[in-house]
Assembly symmetry: C2
Homo-oligomer: 232 residues x 2
Amino acid sequence: MIEAIGLDADDTLWENESFFRLTEAEFCALLADHGAAEDIITRLFDVERANLRRYGYGIKGFMLSMVETAIELTDGAVDGRTIGRILDLGREMLAHPVDLLPGVEAALDALEGRRLILITKGDLMDQERKIAASGLAERFAAVEILAEKSPEAYGRVLWAQGIAPERFLMAGNSMKSDVIPVLELGGWGVFVPHEVTWAAEHADAPDHPRLREIGRLDELPGLVERIEGGAA
Amino acid sequence: MIEAIGLDADDTLWENESFFRLTEAEFCALLADHGAAEDIITRLFDVERANLRRYGYGIKGFMLSMVETAIELTDGAVDGRTIGRILDLGREMLAHPVDLLPGVEAALDALEGRRLILITKGDLMDQERKIAASGLAERFAAVEILAEKSPEAYGRVLWAQGIAPERFLMAGNSMKSDVIPVLELGGWGVFVPHEVTWAAEHADAPDHPRLREIGRLDELPGLVERIEGGAA
């Protein structure tokens, strides 16, 4: 029996990474005199990776990494107006409406009555804004915003909620953050790939008896029933 | 009977606001050609206030507000090197060791066996770093990092933990965030003023039968006993 279902939010319930890609394209246009777009994106990714331990996930850290990359790329010559445009790009992201992904509402309708937990990571403020704006908050028995989706962090959530790992299933678009740590804990992991996923979230799919993959979230309710019936 | 005690973290368990004040002084020195220190600080505070809804609390938002203030003060003429120095100031704050306030360890020793909950707000990543670095994590039955310390947010914590508000006591240095919302919920609020408190956290003390004030956290264990005995 699956006692509780965890759902990731960004790029599982709603669009997220595609806004980062659009912002990166505008960032490259701002700095077009200082490099080709692909080189600027590589540089930005290196800065983001180096800052992850310090800033964690989310738009504010991304804004600070864009500013740092602009300074590096121009050897400190970038002017305040360009930095101001970078801040504007980040603020536009923070104000962006929430676009639900196809199949999400149907999936949540079909899962009604089950114990659903929204488990996401990133900026507290921005995640809470998106959860409120999504209109989905009341579908979830609990909302957990984590700094990092490690096995330990999932373990603390399950412990606090009194859920045995083998009765927990987590679905999300990140093999690294949504699937593998839950498999390691002894739970079920359902990979729901999204066409745009941040390079830092990539991980190879392990060969694991409790790993499943679906194309869209509305395939989840049927999959859960088949798992419970021993047929998946 | 007090069933659970909530403790704020920044400027209740450890120093925090004083690092912001030191960083502000360095920020003013960087921009000394563009204004007097008191004017720059006023401008920065206005920018922070305007950004609070967007960025929430914490060092990353403060860094972004310093960058924005520098751009405004220089009419966009600030150069990348100065912005880079501002980023360095923020990164130094993010790496700063945790300095426990006087009386904290004695207070926690005397409260051992009671159900203690650390309730703080701000950046998830930075708060988790400080909790780990403080060495105090295992003293707490639960840690809650909130985006905003509203009565609703406290109510969710108490509901999730199964604590009746009238059996909950919260102690902290912010009348606005630690004391008043808990009094409003029906709990006890203990004000522990710190010599440095951010202007946005100021609020007048209400005239309330469940409000108490102490000078240092090590006065809390005795106060709790007197409240339980009906003598405080």
